[in-house]
Symmetry: none
């Protein structure tokens, strides 16, 4: 008797997930080009061949990981696409930003390492730009609505602050006092807007 379709499907899905998870961690820690397919297979406890049953190439494996990641991001970052942010939603956005990173710092570490390289992947570049635009647009409107004299500058300030904190967090998730930083930033803006 052959395995049922369900059995096969679940085997496949588990293995694919296992491979992606293993590869993601290695890519993030050791770099994409410094991670051999051999190493991924060994760490995942499978053969090289099996990896190629599920992914056409090492590059396509990366793409697949990145795609998952992008899907996740959109869900979180632009839930209703209305582009309007109240002050409370703004604080919530800050909270959420850190929470999302904290949920999967490895993803973001990989994202960060890829986004810096000119040649690696166009996919990343595209999504990166889209994402930035999406978030930036919302932010811009928000700062304007808060009667900031220089909304663009305010946005750069805010995005620097957030990005810097995130970078430091993903570099050392265990030692960075994320909660504290989150509150510090929120307090900072509460103070600012109170005036």
């Amino acid at each position: 008797m052959p395995r049922t379709l369900e059995q096969n499907k679940s085997i496949r899905e588990e293995k694919i997930e296992l491979i992606k998870e293993t590869a993601l961690n290695l890519f993030a820690d050791e770099g994409y080009h410094n991670t051999s397919v051999q190493k991924i297979a060994k760490q995942a406890g499978i053969s090289k061949g099996l990896l190629y049953n599920y992914f056409e190439s090492k590059e396509q494996l990366l793409e697949s990981i990145v795609n998952d990641f992008i899907t996740d991001m959109y869900v979180h970052f632009d839930p209703n696409h209305d582009g309007v942010l109240s002050e409370d939603e703004f604080y919530y956005f800050i909270e959420k930003s850190f929470d999302i990173i904290a949920e999967n710092p490895v993803h973001w570490k990989l994202y960060n390492s890829l986004v810096m390289q000119k040649t690696v992947l166009e996919i990343i570049q595209d999504i990166s730009i889209k994402l930035s635009k999406s978030v930036f647009g919302v932010m811009f409107n928000f700062f304007k609505s808060e009667r900031c004299t220089d909304p663009e500058g305010e946005m750069l300030f805010f995005s620097s602050l957030l990005k810097g904190a995130i970078i430091q967090y993903i570099a050392a998730p265990d030692s960075f006092p994320m909660e504290m930083m989150k509150n510090k930033i929120i307090d900072f803006y509460k103070n600012k807007f109170k005036i």
Copy 2:
């Protein structure tokens, strides 16, 4: 007639500089592991063999680049090692931080890509930690002297802000409004300390 010793020496130094410069740019843009010695040699207009006359290995070439870079950093970041910062010196420090990055964004791009990777180089890790400590120490003392209630949090806030701005700048040096950002940060702290 043969070249004089001086001529040889200057040829050596020029070539070494050329190789480092070329390698630095490639490493930063395409990644260390994705840059072949062949590519470096070709782009520098020399032979692979000559590169190995000056550098023991590809790894040692990277180390050499990183060493230069570290030397530069120390000169800039810890001029007198006294660890005491006046308010004016603090503003000057912000200015200087951006200026140093602007002087050689490629260096910093490389630094950023290396520092994220677990395995690449221990040297980098060491220096990275030392550097952080050095800067953090000075900053911590400064914020304490400015009577901040939470100097550590203040420091994290400040370093996030700076790091975020720098990351965004080195990702796109041509489009990031560096001057504006610099002034924005300085103004922010001037306002803060005035109160």
Copy 3:
């Protein structure tokens, strides 16, 4: 209820035929070494595993195809093994030669591609030589009986003509004017023997 033995047998035979037919076409068009078992299975709409239920190996599959083919050839080429050809039988032989090819040009294309290769299969070499000898023997006797001054040369001439026409036909079965060529050759010999 379970399948009857008859049903199973007929399923077996159909599947075996399907696999052979599919493999034959792929081997002929893309080459034996360039055709993967995967590709055969996919094109036949079955699993790799099933293919291995019926054939021990890829090589044995090829052998099996070639064996069928050889059986066919013998039936056609040496019906009574008497080695004597009348003039009418000679014309009939020409007709038959083309007809046999036309019945299964793919078989002959495969045969042609295999027979050229030193290493592929000894089986083929053997049968190829036997076949040649068989046909050549009959031909030789025929040309002698027709009082040709140089029966061996005549035979080479004839076999070249036939082989060349066949090669051109199997290379492009759709555009080669087979009927015309057949008649041309027959007419040629009718004219020749009339004199």
Copy 4:
């Protein structure tokens, strides 16, 4: 002192020639897909790596061999491109055809094995068609000028004869009585045109 440019050039050319020659023989005897780069390198007494210094890929090596071969063919087959053949030139053409094959039967064996496969190379297909057209055009005009009632059929007859003889020759260059066959064909046409 580095090698002079001449020295390097000659080393390069010799090695390229050696690799092509070795590969050609293996491709022709064992088939393109059945010949590993390893095998070529070993037989040529060099490393795999060196082969890739000179050829981008195994496929490009094949293309390169085929290109040389095509160049040779054009030189021989269409010397003045005028497309007019006298009767003497026709006999000379037959002679020349066999001579060219005899000069490098391995080339033609390879050509023959490639031309039969649908997928292998478009290059071959193109040149094959061009060559056929070129030769066929000249032949067609010739048979017309010789007042044949069916020049196209005559051409097919002639090309079958020639192709068949060539195929048999390249399959077994040592045992095929090429001179005899050549004369037989020439005599055949002399007789035919005399009438």
